[in-house]
Amino acid sequence: MTETTTPDVGRGASITVDRLVKSFGDQRAVNEVSMDLPAGALLVLLGPSGCGKTTTLRMIAGLEDPSGGRIRFGDKTMADGDSGAAVPAEKRGIGMVFQSYALWPHMTVRANVEWPLKVAGWGTAERRRRSAEVLGMLGIDHLAERYPGQLSGGQQQRVAIARTVAPRPQVLLFDEPLSNLDARLRVDTRAELVEVHRRSGATSVYVTHDQIEALAMATHIAVLKEGRLEQFGTPDELLENPQTAFVAEFLGSPAAVLIEGTVASGELMHEGIALAAAVPLPDGETLSAMYRPEAISLAEQDGTGVDITVLESTPSAGRFVVTVRRGAKRIAVVSETRYPVGARLRLVLPEEPAALFDAEGRRWDHLA
C-alpha cells in the first residue's frame, strides 16, 4: 500500500435499521431487526446460513425492498417497508462487493474500475488517476490490462474491491467476499479489507458466517439467527456479556462452555455438582451455566468435576485447545498440557459461572 493516496476520512454516514422485516411468502427471512450503527463503523452481520444476514445486507443496498420497518442513512430515510417508499440502490451512495465478485467479464481490470466513474460523469484524466490510485492501493496495478478470466481468485477479489471503493461511496457493503478464497489468502485479504475500510472512512457492512473473521474485523457485530437479531454490540460486549446462549456458544475461539443444570433447593445442580448457589427458582427449573474456556481446567479422574473424554488436542500459542466429549456435546477448553486421545478426565469448574441462561436461551439474571 502506497502512502501517497489521500484517505477520504469522514465521508461515512450512520446507518439506522428500525424493526426491519422481509417476508418471502409467509416466511419471515428477516424479523424485526433493529440497530444503530455510528458513522465510519464496520458492522459484521454474523450468523449461520439462512439466518437472514445477506437479505438484510441486500435491503441496506436497495437490491431488495423491505416488507416492513425502516432503513436510514444519517437522517435520510432510504427505505420504508410500511409505506413502500424506497430510494433506488444507485442513489444511496453505496458500493458493494459481491460474493461472486460480479466482475464484468468482457472488460479489462482498468475498465471494470473506471466504468462506474464514467457513469458517474468523471472526466477521463480524473478516472485514469483514480483507477491508478486504487489499483496501486490494492497492489494490482500491474494487472490493469488483463481480463477477469485471466486472474486468480485472490486477484479478482482485489479488482472487485478496487472497483467498489473507486467512486468513494459513503457506505461499503460486502457479501461474504472471502468465501471463495483459500484459508491463507482469506487471512491476508481480511487485513487488507480492514485497511480499505479505514482509509475510505465509509461506514461498512460485512456479511459472513465465520465468527473469527467477525471478531478480527468488526467494530460492531450483529448476530442473527433464523431472521431474528440475537445481539448487537461491539465484539468485546458480545464476548464479555453475551445476551443469549446462542451468542455465547457461537462466538470466541474456543467458544464459551455451557453446562445445563437443574434447580434443587435454591442451587443449580449438575449430576451432584453445584454449578451456582442462591438461585431463587422453584425446584426442577433448568438453567444453563456459562463458563469461559480459560477458566475451566482439566483434572485426572479422581478429583471432583464433570466426567469427560478427550477427543483431540490442538496446539495453539504455546498452549492446547483440548476438545472433549460430554455425553453428546463437544466442549473445547484451554489447557497447559496435551492429553492423549481417549483419556478420561474431569472438568474442574470455577465457583460461580460467568453467566446463566434460561431454558429459552435468554440471559437470566437473578438480580433483575
Binding site: T54, A61, L63, A89, E90, K91, I94, G95, M96, F98, Q99, S100, Y101, A102, L103, W104, P105, H106, M107, W115, P116, V119, A120, P148, G149, G153, Q156, R163, P167, E176, S179, N180
Partner: protein
C-alpha cells in the same frame, strides 16, 4: 513383447475404441470420401467433369452462382432476424417484469420443436396467390390481392426460416443471460447507469459469444435448409443451393448434384467452423457464488406494449400457424371456408370426387404404411445413434491416447457441419452407386437408418458425453478397485447414473429424425415411404389438406416428445429458476 501387444489389443477398451472408429469411418468419413471421389474423373481431366459445368460454364450462373447468392441472402436475413427476435424475447423473459413471461418462455421454445416445413406450409396456406396455379391461399380466397413478393421467394422463405430458428436463438441467448447471474447486472445498476446503458455496456457485450453463436447457427441453417425454399421458392424458380442440389439429383444429373453438395458443405462448414473458432476463446468464465436471480427491469408503462409485442411474436409462430393448418384440413375446398367444413380429409373413405379419390389420412393405406416406416425409422436411428454416441463417449473417456480421442471427437463432430441434403447425396454416392465397394442399399430401409444415425451422431455424442460427465470418474474407479470389469461398470454404474440424460437424448434424436425432410428427401423410394416426404409430395401436388394434416400429426409427435425429453433431462430451464 508380442504377447503384451496382443493383450493390449484385446483389452475391452481397445476393442471398443477400434469398433467405434470403424463405424464412424463408415458412417462419416466414407460417404464424404465417395462424394468427392465420385466427382473426380478417372483420367484426372477435370475439363470433362461436372466441375466446370457447375462453376464456370455459361449455365453456372443458373446452376450455382444465383442459387449461392439466394442461399446467402436467405441465410443472412434468417441470422439477423432470428438473433434480434431471440435476443428480444430472451431479454423479456429473463430480465424484464413483463406480464406473462412464463407462458412466453414456454411458447418461444416450441417453434424449434415443430418441423421446419410446418411454418412454410402455413405461410403458403395463407399467402399463396394465383401465380403458379393450384388453389390460392386464404387471403386470395377472400379476395385480397397478394403480391408475388409476399407469396413467393426470398421474403417468405426467410420469414418461414426465422419463425423456426428464432426459437433456437432464444434458447441460446436466454441461457446465457440467465447464466450471467444477477450480481453482474446489479453491480452495474449500482453505479447509477441507466437501463439502456447497462444493457448496451454490460449485458449485451457479456452475452456477445451467445449472440454470435446464435447468429452463425441460424446462418448455417439458413444456407442449408431445404423445406422452406422448396415449398415457397421452388414453384417460382427461386433456387437455393439445396433446391438446386435436389433438382440435379432427382432429374438424373447425379454428378452435378454431388459437386453442388460439396460446395454446399464447404459454405455451411466454413460458417460453422469459423463460428466455433471465434466463440471458443471468448466464452467468458463467470465466477459464481450464490446463484442470484437477476433483478427484473421494471418496465412500468412499457410493460403492456412489450407484452403485446412478445406474445404476438410467439403466438404468430406457434398457435397461429398450427391453427391455420388445422383449419385448412377441415375445409371442404382448399383454403376456402365458404364451402363448409368436413372431416373427410382425416377419416373419409375414398371418394372419386374429392382429391382424386384419396382417402382421409387415417384411412389411407399408403399413409398408414408411411407412419409405420417413419416410427420404425425414428426408433432405429435413436437407438443406433445413442448406442454409438455412448460407446464413442465412453471410449473417449477411457482412452489415454490423444490421437484416438481427437479422431473420435472429430468424426463425431463433422456431420454437424454437413447440411442434411448434402449428407443424403453423400450416402447415395457411397451406398447407391455401382462403383462403390460397399453393398448397394439404395431403396432399402437401411440406407435411411444409416444416414439418420450419421446425421444424429454429433448430438448423440455430445449428450452422452455430458451425461457420462455427470458421473464422476471416481465412482467408476471405485468400481474398478473392487474388481468390476468394463461391461459390469458400464451396465451397473454408468448407465443407471446417466440413464435419464441418455433417454432424453434418444427422444430428441427420435424427434429430429422423424420431422426432418432434407436428409431423406433424396433417399426415400416408394418402397420406404416416410411421413415428412409424403407431406412434401402432397404439398407439391396441391393436396393441401392431406399435407397439412400429416404435418399436424408430425408436429404433435414432435412437440410432445420434445417437452417430455426436456423433462427427462431435468432441464428446468436456467431462466425459470
Amino acid at each position: 513383447m508380442r504377447q503384451t501387444i496382443l493383450r493390449r489389443l484385446t483389452r475391452p477398451v481397445t476393442v471398443l475404441t477400434g469398433l467405434v472408429l470403424a463405424v464412424l469411418g463408415i458412417l462419416v468419413a466414407a460417404p464424404l470420401v465417395s462424394l468427392v471421389s465420385a466427382t473426380i474423373p478417372a483420367d484426372g481431366d477435370f475439363a470433362g467433369s461436372s466441375w466446370p459445368d457447375v462453376v464456370t460454364s455459361p449455365m453456372a450462373v443458373n446452376l450455382f452462382w444465383t442459387p449461392l447468392q439466394n442461399s446467402l441472402l436467405v441465410a443472412l436475413g434468417t441470422a439477423v432476424l432470428s438473433t434480434v427476435l431471440g435476443a428480444f424475447l430472451a431479454w423479456v423473459v429473463v430480465l424484464s417484469d413483463a406480464p406473462g413471461r412464463k407462458i412466453i418462455a414456454v411458447l418461444a421454445t416450441i417453434p424449434f420443436a415443430l418441423p421446419s416445413f410446418a411454418i412454410a406450409l402455413a405461410w403458403s396456406s395463407v399467402f399463396r396467390n394465383g401465380r403458379v396455379g393450384g388453389s390460392p391461399g386464404i387471403l386470395a380466397g377472400m379476395g385480397v390481392e397478394v403480391p408475388d413478393w409476399l407469396a413467393w421467394g426470398a421474403l417468405p422463405v426467410t420469414l418461414a426460416l426465422v419463425a423456426h430458428y428464432f426459437s433456437l436463438s432464444f434458447i441460446i441467448i436466454a441461457a446465457a443471460l440467465a447464466g450471467l447471474g444477477g450480481d453482474l447486472l446489479a453491480a452495474a445498476e449500482l453505479t447509477g447507469a441507466s437501463k439502456l446503458r447497462v444493457a448496451a455496456s454490460i449485458a449485451i457485450p457479456a452475452v456477445s459469444p451467445a449472440l454470435l453463436s446464435s447468429f452463425l447457427l441460424a446462418f448455417a441453417e439458413g444456407v442449408s435448409n431445404f423445406a422452406s425454399p422448396a415449398l415457397l421458392g421452388l414453384p417460382v424458380r427461386f433456387q437455393t443451393l439445396s433446391t438446386r442440389l435436389y433438382g440435379s439429383i432427382s432429374t438424373g444429373n447425379v454428378e452435378r448434384g454431388y459437386v453442388l453438395a460439396i460446395l454446399l458443405v464447404i459454405v455451411a462448414a466454413a460458417v460453422l467452423y469459423v463460428g466455433n473458432r471465434v466463440t471458443a476463446g471468448r466464452s467468458f468464465a463467470v465466477i459464481t457464488g450464490k446463484a442470484t436471480r437477476p433483478r427484473t427491469v421494471r418496465l412500468g408503462a412499457a410493460a403492456w406494449p412489450v407484452f403485446t409485442l412478445a406474445s404476438g411474436l410467439v403466438a404468430a409462430t406457434t398457435i397461429l400457424p398450427l391453427a391455420v393448418l388445422a383449419l385448412t384440413t377441415f375445409s371442404r375446398r382448399s383454403h376456402r371456408f365458404d364451402d363448409g367444413f368436413t372431416l373427410h380429409y382425416w377419416v373419409g373413405e375414398s371418394d372419386p370426387g374429392v382429391s382424386h379419390g384419396m382417402a382421409g389420412v387415417f384411412r389411407n393405406d399408403r399413409l398408414m404404411d408411411a407412419t409405420g416406416t417413419t416410427i420404425a425409422y425414428g426408433l432405429a436411428v435413436a437407438a443406433g445413434a445413442v448406442v454409438l454416441g455412448m460407446l464413442a463417449a465412453y471410449a473417449v473417456r477411457r482412452s489415454g491416447s490423444t490421437a484416438v480421442i481427437g479422431s473420435i471427437s472429430f468424426l463425431s463432430y463433422v456431420p454437424f457441419l454437413i447440411p442434411g441434403i448434402a449428407l443424403g447425396a453423400a450416402f447415395i454416392a457411397l451406398f447407391g452407386s455401382a462403383s462403390s465397394p460397399l453393398p448397394n442399399l439404395y431403396g432399402t430401409f437401411w440406407i435411411l437408418v444409416l444416414a439418420g444415425i450419421a446425421a444424429s451422431v454429433p448430438y448423440a455424442f455430445q449428450t452422452s458425453k455430458s451425461a457420462l460427465g455427470q458421473v464422476s470418474g471416481e465412482l467408476e474407479e471405485a468400481a474398478v478397485v473392487v474388481g468390476a470389469g468394463t461391461g459390469r461398470r458400464i451396465t451397473r454404474i454408468l448407465l443407471p447414473l446417466s440413464a435419464r440424460g441418455v433417454t432424453g437424448g434418444a427422444m430428441l434424436v427420435f424427434v429430429t429424425t422423424v420431422r426432418d425432410l432434407s436428409l431423406v428427401v433424396l433417399l426415400v423410394t416408394p418402397a420406404t415411404p416416410l411421413l415428412a416426404v409424403e407431406t412434401f409430395r402432397y404439398a407439391e401436388e396441391g393436396f393441401t389438406q392431406h399435407a397439412n394434416a400429416i404435418t399436424l400429426i408430425i408436429a404433435a409427435v414432435s412437440v410432445t416428445a420434445t417437452l417430455l425429453a426436456r423433462r427427462l433431462q431435468g432441464a428446468d430451464q436456467p431462466w425459470n429458476r
